[in-house]
């Protein structure tokens, strides 16, 4: 009985349960009944987590299971089946998603007290979790894409949760810098991510035309057939790759479609925690990891050279995003915006790892595991950081770090756990962030991509800098005025306490965990997917194993020491240094304006659209409308007025008409003959 549940029903219950929770929490309980609605949503997500845990033993004996039912029949062609795919990747992701979502939901029972829109909030939060679990477990592109779009829609609705745009929910600033309203932020997220989704759908459909299936497993096993057909038309594989990657790039907020994520924190803090840690941006990393074996098979096993493009694209974009957004985080003053930048940067690392994994067969396992390991540790510390940030903002009522001035005396739990997570983000040993970042750096070296390695290393330093800066501003205020605040509700600190403790525990077990993941995926790649990795790959040298951790620790020190003097011990003043130096001032301005990328989009697309409106309406539509609906009737009127004038009734003129008619007839007849 339990075995049947575990084997067949667990994955289905896992993703369906939050959907049921979503419907129930919409209808049960009054509009203000946050406890009841929250409990319902949490219970159904809890069921998902239990189901995910039941699936967990499967990852140690890797195999691939596809449990499906009939779904859509198509005229001429294989019907599309709805199914769940169980392999180490989907099981690990399902566990991360359901566990973190559960904690976030429990946290928000307290956080959302007294806010408006309870029914909407809980319904959408559950739907969000359900959509993410669906996309993680789906066995084919169509079902996956449904989950993918549901997640996108829920993020739109939840980012714009405070749709009334009250001033206290505005983000941006501080004055004189402009503010953004929550409803605009939601719309921006929806539009930018949908642009990627459309591209991705086009890519999926092109693959379907060649492969005749949407199923991931079949796509993998028949790569040699359909990719050969594609390779016959040069450029098609590259085109498909770019289209297909549009989705993950937009969803995971990678350059150049990363502009939406900094504004995505306009919603309540638990929503940001879900978006950043569990249910939204991780989807992009997941699908890249899911498509990885297909393209890997295409290039390394079957030798279609165009399939290789998949890897450098994500590696370079990932490294670029990691660097650009980390620098943005160095100057930002909004607490949640710093965290948002750091998310993009960390996701960039994951993309980089997956890209590097495919660029050389030496780095495959290290890179793939590094990407997933970093996904896991990032999910833990980022969820914890956002939940801490929610509490900090809640008690101080300010979104800016320089207006906090808190003391660890009054918020001991927040202080300790926020430090844990921040250090994990910075990549300080022994926290889990250190191990996973280490793995990614090793992958870059193994792949022989020294440029990418340097970019990643530099970014690691910047990350450490801004993590310490953020903590310094919040808890070690220079002015010495410490705000006396009370209130760390248990329901709020226990969830992030669990998450931060886990990041420490996983860090302490880091070396061992790395080995376990290596074994799992080595087994998965060689025995389940049957890619002959070991025969091709060299083992990494002991030199690399030494260089990477030592260089990353040196980098941490180089950036950590100045950050400590500026923001914690206050031995030096960063503002003075910046203001004294013109180059630094210009640099600060560029970074503050996010490299002007966002401004550029705003100027071209948003302004362009607004400019197009009067042009389309006044000059194009109105002129067509006028010529057809007014011009043509006028023409007819003119014609019959003209004709009426001809009807003079004078006999001689009529005879003239007859003459003209007869002569022209004669001419016509003669011409014809």
């Amino acid at each position: 009985m339990l075995e049947a549940l575990r084997m067949f029903y667990a994955p289905w219950i896992c993703w369906i349960s939050p959907f049921i929770g979503s419907i129930l929490s919409l209808f049960i309980g009054g509009e203000e009944d946050v406890k009841l609605k929250g409990t319902i949503a949490s219970i159904f997500t809890g069921v998902s987590w239990i189901m995910a845990l039941l699936m967990l033993p499967d990852i140690f004996k890797p195999r691939l299971r596809d449990i499906w039912v009939g779904w859509i029949t198509l005229p001429y062609g294989e019907p599309v089946k709805a199914g769940v795919l169980l392999d180490p990747l989907s099981i690990i992701l399902a566990n991360i998603v359901s566990f973190i979502s559960l904690l976030v939901l429990i946290y928000s029972i307290k956080y959302m007290e007294g806010e408006y829109g309870q029914a909407r909030y809980w319904c959408l939060m559950s739907l969000f979790v359900g959509g993410m679990l669906l996309l993680v477990l789906a066995d084919n592109f169509i079902l996956f894409f449904i989950g993918w779009k549901i997640v996108g829609f829920c993020s739109y609705a939840l980012i714009g949760h405070y749709y009334r745009d009250e001033k206290k929910y505005w983000i941006g600033g501080p004055p004189p810098h402009p503010f953004e309203k929550p409803s605009t932020c939601g719309l921006k997220a929806l539009i930018v991510t949908t642009f990627g989704d459309v591209a991705m759908l086009a890519g999926i459909l092109i693959i379907y035309l060649y492969a005749g299936t949407f199923n991931f497993q079949t796509l993998f096993s028949t790569t040699n057939i359909w990719m050969a057909k594609m390779a016959a038309n040069p450029g098609i594989i590259t085109l498909t790759t770019i289209l297909l990657l549009g989705g993950p790039i937009a969803k995971s907020a990678q350059f150049p479609l990363h502009v939406w994520l900094p504004e995505a924190m306009a919603g309540p803090a638990p929503v940001s925690a879900l978006i950043h840690a569990a249910t939204m941006v991780k989807a992009g990393v997941y699908i890249v990891a899911r498509l990885f074996p297909i393209f890997f098979n295409g290039y390394w096993v079957n030798g279609f050279s165009e399939a290789f493009n998949f890897f450098p694209i994500i590696a370079v974009l990932g490294a670029l995003t990691a660097f650009i957004t980390a620098t943005d985080a160095m100057v930002s003053l909004e607490l949640k915006k710093i965290l948002a930048y750091s998310t993009m940067s960390q996701i960039g690392y994951m993309m980089l790892a997956l890209g590097a994994a495919g660029m050389s067969i030496n780095a495959t396992i290290t890179g793939y595991v590094g990407g997933l390991y970093h996904l896991l540790s990032h999910a833990l510390f980022k969820a914890a950081l956002f939940l801490c940030a929610g509490l900090v903002i809640h008690v101080t009522g300010s979104i800016y770090i320089h207006e906090k001035g808190l003391s660890r005396k009054y918020l001991p739990m927040t202080w300790i756990f926020m430090w844990f997570s921040a250090l994990s983000l910075a990549g300080v040993p022994p926290f889990s962030g250190f191990w996973s970042k280490d793995e990614i750096l090793t992958a870059c070296i193994n792949a022989g991509q020294y440029g990418l390695f340097l970019a990643a290393l530099l970014t690691a330093g910047i990350t450490c800098f801004y993590s310490i800066r953020m903590m310094g501003y919040i808890f070690y205020s220079r002015s010495g005025e410490v705000e006396e605040v009370h209130g760390e509700p248990k329901l709020m600190w226990i969830p992030f306490g669990i998450l931060s403790s886990l990041t420490l525990i996983l860090g302490l077990m880091g070396y061992w965990l790395e080995g376990v993941l290596h074994d799992i995926f080595n087994e998965y790649f060689t025995n389940v997917l049957r890619i002959p990795l070991t025969a091709l790959a060299h083992t990494s040298t002991s030199l690399t194993q030494l260089i990477v951790p030592s260089s990353s620790i040196i980098m941490l020190l180089i950036s950590g020491v100045p950050a400590y003097t500026f923001y914690i011990s206050h031995k030096a003043d960063s503002w003075k240094i910046v203001n004294a130096n013109t180059t630094l001032r210009v640099l600060h301005k560029i970074l503050w304006n996010r490299w002007y990328i966002d401004k550029f989009y705003r100027m071209t697309f948003v302004r362009g659209l607004h400019l197009s409106r009067p042009i389309v309406q006044r000059y194009v539509e109105d002129s067509i409308d006028f010529s057809l609906n007014i011009g043509v009737p006028k023409l007819f009127a003119a014609m019959y007025n003209g004709l009426r004038r001809i009807q003079t009734g004078v006999a001689s003129i009529n005879i003239l008409y007859i003459l003209i008619f007869l002569t022209s007839m004669v001419i016509v007849i003669l011409a014809v003959i």
């Binding site: 859509i72 549901i150 749709y163 009334r164 745009d165 539009i191 759908l201 086009a202 389309v616 309406q617």
Partner: protein, 498 residues
């Protein structure tokens, strides 16, 4: 079959109801609306019975009645996998709008003529019920004269309802509507007559015996006739006026005419003249893409909520046209699916626009804002409509869109690079849909509430519940599209392969 002649009943009962309403409607006052509603529900039930029967044994149902011995005409009604879903959805939308009209028309008559005028009220419902007769007729008819007759039958209520109950400048727009629809119908009639001259029969099935230039001409005229009705770029100028100025409660119903355009193209041109139709494939696809993009930008330029819905129809109908013009099996099936999806979504959006007019008296989105706090259910409905159109699952839009675009891309790969470019531009044009549906959501429902809208109340349930039912239908089609695809498959597999 439990009920005798269900198809004939589904047409005759609304027709009789229309006559009854016209005679006694003035005396029974608001009951006239309920009679109309009941007759449409009855004919919907008839159609559902047929649906159940076809679902079970997969055979189309055909009813035939003697009509005119002289021209050897038979009055045939055919319910197969293609015509039945279209007729049923048209009927469901008519039902929803009939219920919605009951409170709305009182408001409308009061604002035009001042006070209740039961004579006009019953006239509205008598004419409205004729729409249903027309739509079922267009979907089910098996010969071209019959088809033409029902097309013209739809024109009568369109003209009178617009002229009597429309919005600003209604007399001019009513004439515009009449002339443009008539041009479309006349071009169609030329095609029909040409076909008759050659084949000596008006039966739809004889179209397939046409060949050569003659087939080309017939195909051309029928196509152009329907392109006028589906408002492709160039012929679209009537659409923003007619849809926007139509009494809101019947605007979705007029939009059905355009939706039926895709059905008629499939029924006549794809099923019977596919070889000739293929000549038009690429030009038509280009035309459709131009219309999609132009329609989208036109929609984005609107500030009037009703004109917004009207202009988006131009763009949305072009999607279905693109699918059908691809001549690929999935493109055609998806095109019909998409057109059904669009009808549902557009009905919801139009009706919400009507609710806004009904409750606030405003049409200008620049003066709205924050209404979600005053009418949450209406806001939710508008979002659902927007999701349906911009293909966000779990609603039906996504399923229709991907099925359709598989066909469109297939044309691209079997054809040339042109086809691929068209397909790519087409799929990226769907991105614009999202902007023009979700930006209005923000403009109307989000943000701070203007002071003059503080006292706006919730919409009456009779207006929102029917829309909710449509939303549920869309949801069902989205979760399990086989409900519809099974019918379309059976119809499309039965005809020749293409």
């Amino acid at each position: 079959m439990l009920v005798p002649n269900p198809l004939l009943q589904s047409i005759l009962i609304p027709l009789i109801a229309a006559i009854v309403i016209a005679i006694i409607g003035k005396r029974v006052k608001e009951v006239a609306g309920w009679i109309s509603c009941a007759s449409i529900v009855y004919s919907t039930i008839m159609l559902i019975l047929v649906v159940v029967k076809i679902w079970i044994d997969q055979n189309p149902i055909y009813e035939e009645y003697a009509w005119s011995e002289l021209a050897k005409l038979k009055f045939g009604l055919l319910a197969d996998g293609l015509s039945l879903p279209v007729a049923l959805i048209a009927n469901l939308i008519c039902t929803a709008c009939a219920a919605y009209s009951i409170p709305y028309m009182r408001h409308r008559i009061e604002s035009i003529y001042g006070g209740d005028d039961w004579g006009l009220y019953r006239l509205y419902f008598a004419l409205y019920t004729l729409f249903v007769v027309g739509f079922i007729g267009i979907s089910l008819s098996t010969n071209l004269v019959e088809l033409y007759l029902f097309i013209e039958l739809v024109l009568i209520p369109s003209y009178f309802l617009l002229d009597l109950f429309g919005y600003s400048d209604r007399h001019r727009v009513a004439i515009m509507c009449f002339i443009w629809s008539h041009i479309g119908a006349a071009l169609f009639l030329i095609g029909v007559v040409l076909a008759y001259v050659k084949t000596g029969s008006f039966e739809v099935s004889t179209l397939s015996s046409l060949t050569g230039t003659y087939a080309f001409l017939v195909c051309f005229f029928i196509l152009i006739g329907w392109l006028v009705k589906t408002a492709v770029f160039g012929f679209h100028v009537w659409a923003p006026w007619v849809y926007a100025e139509f009494p809101t409660c019947a605007a979705p119903v007029v939009a059905i005419t355009a939706g039926l355009g895709s059905y008629v193209m499939v029924r006549l041109l794809i099923q019977h003249m596919i070889e000739t139709f293929r000549i038009f494939s690429i030009p038509l696809m280009v035309w459709a893409v131009i219309t999609m993009i132009y329609g989208a930008f036109l929609t984005l330029a609107q500030d009037d909520v009703k004109r917004l819905c009207a202009c988006s129809s131009i763009s949305q109908n072009a999607y279905s046209l693109l699918g059908i013009a691809s001549c690929a099996t999935l493109g055609v099936a998806g095109g019909i699916f998409y057109s059904i999806n669009h009808l549902i979504g557009k009905c919801i959006l139009f009706s919400v626009a009507g609710i806004l007019v009904h409750q606030t008296g405003l049409r200008d989105m620049r003066r709205m804002g924050g209404l979600a706090s005053r009418m949450p259910l209406t806001a939710a409905l508008f979002v659902i409509g927007a999701m349906t159109l911009s293909a966000i699952p779990p609603l039906s839009g996504f399923q229709a869109e991907w099925i359709m675009f598989v066909g469109i891309f297939r044309q691209g790969f079997h054809g040339s690079t042109t086809g691929l470019v068209i397909a790519l531009i087409g799929i990226f044009a769907t991105f614009l849909t999202l902007i023009y549906t979700f930006w209005p959501v923000k403009r109307i429902f989000f943000g701070p509430l203007p002071n003059e809208l503080r006292n706006i109340g919730r919409a009456p349930y009779i207006m929102t519940i029917p829309l909710l039912i449509l939303a549920i239908i869309s949801l069902m089609l989205g979760i399990y599209p086989d409900i519809l695809m099974r019918f379309l498959n059976s119809a499309i597999s039965a005809s020749q392969s293409y």
